[in-house]
């Protein structure tokens, strides 16, 4: 028994050791096999010569990485350094969420992934010239997630100007957001920090921390590079004081002098950092200044990372499919208005949007992630609240060249005109085509208090209804988020409208347009058919039948006992 256990453990650890050895080894020499894997699996995006210009690249944004410049976004190494082989291996293994870069764990073996790492390194000379291994970011001194750290991080977020790009609450709606380009000259959007599932490099606190210290090379996102970003050289209090001073309209002479001192201090620290980078010898005092400054930078970055972490839900919400349908709740009397706190008290149905890639013009790179929907109904009316994130508030001032139409943010909600009876009855087609028409609500940012009712027979074939029903509409755009509230009577006179009734399952679908992403006409994001229902008020029978059945069962048990007892006495 014992020997067997030991033998088993030996085999187990032996296998594990072999596995981890193959895993930990660095990339092998570039080989024919790596080239083959690359040309089979990567070249159509990253290009035969690694310039990021494969045949699929045309439609994609962010563009597939150009490997010839040695710029890598997701690294465990300090700013300005190349990634380690393990970094490359890891990103190829898991892919880059929120972009078209797929994971390769399913399609390529561990060995093939190492081979391809070796191969993509051949596109950039820098990998050969660098004899020294790149300097890795240490995760020592991690400040764990805590309320207090989040608070400090929040202050830093404002202090350091993250707001300008990522917006007040992190939805990527800062004032500079629409103006950013990356090192290759392509437009790039600041991340929506509330959507951790779209972070390119993972949304663990450690991942986020590494992005600040190491930077996101090629992106306009600032990183600590031994420069004045993160007020290098100042303690937390000093940097707070400096920002306070700078925000004054006027400074007294003494204050001018004070801020000047701070700048001197930062310059000294930056100079030392630069010299260290160049490999110069430093005195002990200088090293001390540098180390102290670095410590502050690391601490700040942990606080920031904790704050960023606090902005996102734990995971992406589950889409409202299967039995998880959108259920409108019954209320007696008047329905809650757009700003009623009751909307906050329950979970929304989540409808992830995908690009419309079926009909020209197509949208391959959607910027709207999904719509969150809640609903209430009363005896006569139904109210919906639609909520979605959009980095910009675009109201049609700019005209799209191809279509001549204004570019503006919009949302459409699609229902069938008649609810299909039974599961096999034809529905209107996906995208509204086919024999059966759809009934649409179309809202545009330029007319925020109005929803147009449309009847459509196809994605390009929608007409405003002659009789516009009595839809009540309210909307807001705050911190990168639209809220749209629509109220309608359950039943209308108009034959082209959908008529609503509790307990009926109604197909529902959505489209959204982000004007600043060039969305217009069929270039948009959309969902396939989902289901919506006015949840019937629970039947009062639920209080009647169960007690009756319980009482009956007690009677039955006693009856059975009496019966058995009588039989026993008879038997005797």
């Amino acid at each position: 028994m014992k020997i067997r256990t030991i033998a088993f453990l030996l085999i187990l650890f032996g296998t594990l050791a072999v596995f981890s050895l193959t895993y930990a080894q660095n990339a092998p020499e570039a080989s024919e096999r790596g080239k083959e894997v690359y040309e089979n699996s990567c070249a159509h995006c990253h290009g035969i010569e690694g310039r990021g210009d494969g045949s699929a690249a045309e439609n994609l944004l962010p563009k597939p990485r150009d490997f010839t410049r040695g710029l890598y976004k997701i690294r465990s190494t300090e700013a300005g350094q190349l990634p380690t082989d393990q970094d490359l291996f890891d990103i190829i293994t898991v892919g880059m969420p929120g972009s078209s870069m797929p994971e390769w764990e399913t399609a390529l073996s561990t060995e093939e992934r190492w081979q391809v790492v070796a191969y993509i390194k051949t596109f950039y000379e820098g990998f050969k010239e660098n004899e020294n291994p790149p300097k890795q970011i240490t995760l020592e001194g991690k400040i764990s997630y805590a309320e207090q750290s989040v608070e400090i991080g929040k202050e830093l977020y404002v202090e350091l100007g993250c707001v300008e790009c990522h917006g007040n609450v992190g939805r990527g709606d800062g004032t500079s957001a629409p103006t950013l380009t990356d090192s290759w000259g392509f437009q790039t959007w600041p991340a929506n920090l509330t959507q951790g599932w779209n972070y390119r490099g993972g949304a663990d606190t450690e991942d986020i921390f590494k992005r600040f210290i190491g930077g996101i090379a090629g992106s306009p996102m600032p990183a600590f590079e031994g420069d004045s970003f993160l007020n290098f050289g100042l303690t937390a209090e000093e940097s707070k004081r400096l920002i306070e001073l700078e925000n004054r309209d006027e400074m007294t002479e003494a204050e001018e002098e004070e801020s000047g001192k701070f700048y001197e201090k930062m310059d000294t620290a930056v100079d030392i950092a630069l010299s260290i980078k160049e490999g110069a010898e430093m005195s002990a005092a200088e090293m001390q200044t540098y180390n102290d400054a670095m410590k502050v930078v690391y601490e700040k970055s942990w606080h920031l990372a904790n704050y960023v972490k606090s902005l996102m839900p734990e995971k992406r919400p589950e889409p409202a499919i299967g039995n998880n349908v959108l259920r409108s709740q019954y209320v007696q009397g008047t329905l809650p208005a757009i700003d009623d706190a009751v909307w906050e008290t329950f979970e929304a149905g989540y409808f992830p949007l995908v690009g419309q890639v079926v009909i020209e013009p197509r949208q391959f790179n959607p910027t709207i992630d999904g719509v969150h929907v809640k609903s209430f109904y009363s005896d006569t009316e139904v109210a919906f609240l639609f909520v979605w994130d959009d980095r910009t508030h675009t109201t049609g001032d700019e005209i799209d060249e191809a279509t001549g139409k204004p570019l503006e943010d919009a949302l459409a909600v699609q229902f069938p005109v008649k609810v299909p009876q039974g599961p096999t009855a034809p529905k209107p087609y996906f995208l509204g085509g086919g024999r059966l028409p759809v009934y649409l609500w179309h809202w545009k940012a330029s007319t925020p208090e109005q929803v147009t009712e449309l009847t459509a027979k196809g994605i390009n074939n929608a007409e405003a209804q002659e009789a516009q029903g009595e839809l009540q509409v309210q909307s807001t755009y705050i911190d990168g988020q639209y809220k749209l509230w629509v109220k309608r009577a359950l039943k209308t006179e108009d034959k082209k409208d959908l008529q609503l009734e509790p307990g009926v399952f109604v197909p529902i679908a959505f489209s959204a347009w982000d004007g600043s992403n060039g969305d217009v006409d069929t270039k948009r994001t959309m969902t396939s058919w989902y289901t919506f229902t006015l949840e019937p008020v629970p039947s009062s029978r639920r209080f009647v039948y169960p007690p009756i059945i319980a009482i009956l069962s007690v009677g039955l048990l006693f009856g059975l006992r009496a019966f058995v007892q009588r039989r026993n006495t008879e038997d005797v």
Binding site: S41, H44, C45, G54, S55, A56, N59, S100, P102, T106, A107, P319, I321, N323, V325, R327, P352, L353, V354, G355, V357, V358, I359, E360, F364, G422, P423, T424, P426, K427, P428, Y429, F430, G433, G434, L436, G503, T527, S528, W529, T533, E535, P536, S539, R541, R542, Y545, P546, P547, I549, A550, I551, S553, V554, L557, F558, R561, V564, Q565, N568
Partner: protein, 258 residues
């Protein structure tokens, strides 16, 4: 150890089978079984147990003994009291749960591979009968490997400009838009797909997309685009070559068993 009574054994078998079907097969092996099928299996097991215990009189009495004792025997008084509370409570909760249950939407039965039309068309042009049409570039595989390679390469381009968003980089139906479409995009790595169809069938599906399906395929749900609006005939044949080259599966040719 005390020998288990026949009654307890039967109870264990019943509960054990249910746990096995629901959690082991449905959960761990993850082949979820519809509730109606579980009910059927459980019914069969109950019948088997009844047959087993009623074969002999003594067996049957042995089976009833614990029930009998619980009902009348004085030594079982506590059991009895607990049960007379638990059973009605359970029924109370159970009936309440059934009545208060929310209605769920009906599932949508869908034939993923309905019969194609007899004639294969591209836009309005008739190409031939579904049975007889073959991929015009397939013969290069033997006759002119260089030309064949060029067609596959072109098919790869078409695929990555148009299809991978849904059908995925690995052709496994896991593109980055895929999780949010119902029904899911086809998985060409599934050994039950390519080998079961002729290339003409795929041409039909690609050319006419979801809306080209007959009613049994619930065309109104499918997100599969109508590609004859965007791609030339040759491009569709090329992308079909690419699908089989990349996955390593051979399309069925006419005459092979389905």
């Amino acid at each position: 150890m005390k020998k288990l009574s026949l009654f307890t054994i039967c109870l264990i078998i019943l509960i054990g089978s249910w746990v096995f079907l629901e959690f082991v097969v449905g959960g761990i092996i993850s082949v979820p079984i519809p509730n109606s099928v579980i009910a059927m299996y459980m019914g069969l097991i109950v019948i088997a147990i009844l047959v087993h215990i009623s074969v002999e009189d003594s067996q049957f009495r042995e089976f009833l003994r614990p029930i009998h004792e619980t009902l009348v025997d004085d030594r079982r008084r506590t059991h009895r009291r607990v049960l007379v509370v638990l059973i009605p409570l359970f029924l109370l909760g159970y009936t309440y749960a059934i009545i208060a249950q929310r209605a769920n939407p009906p599932g949508s039965p869908r034939d993923a591979h309905p019969s194609p039309p007899l004639e294969l068309t591209y836009k309005d042009e008739v190409i031939g009968t579904m049975q007889d049409v073959v991929n015009p570039f397939r013969h290069y595989e033997k006759d002119d490997p260089e030309a064949f390679k060029a067609h596959v390469e072109n098919g790869k381009r078409v695929y990555h400009q148009n299809c991978f968003y849904c059908h995925g980089d690995h052709l496994d139906g896991q593109g980055h838009f895929a999780p949010y479409l119902q029904p899911l995009p086809a998985n060409f790595q599934d050994p039950g797909i390519i080998p079961n169809f002729q290339e003409s069938f795929f041409f039909w599906r690609i050319a006419k997309g979801g809306p080209g399906l007959p009613a049994a395929g619930t065309p109104w749900d499918s997100a599969m685009p109508i590609w004859e609006d965007h791609l030339t005939k040759d491009e569709i044949w090329d992308v079909i070559l690419f699908l089989s080259e990349y996955t390593g599966y051979q399309f069925r040719t006419f005459g092979e068993a389905h």
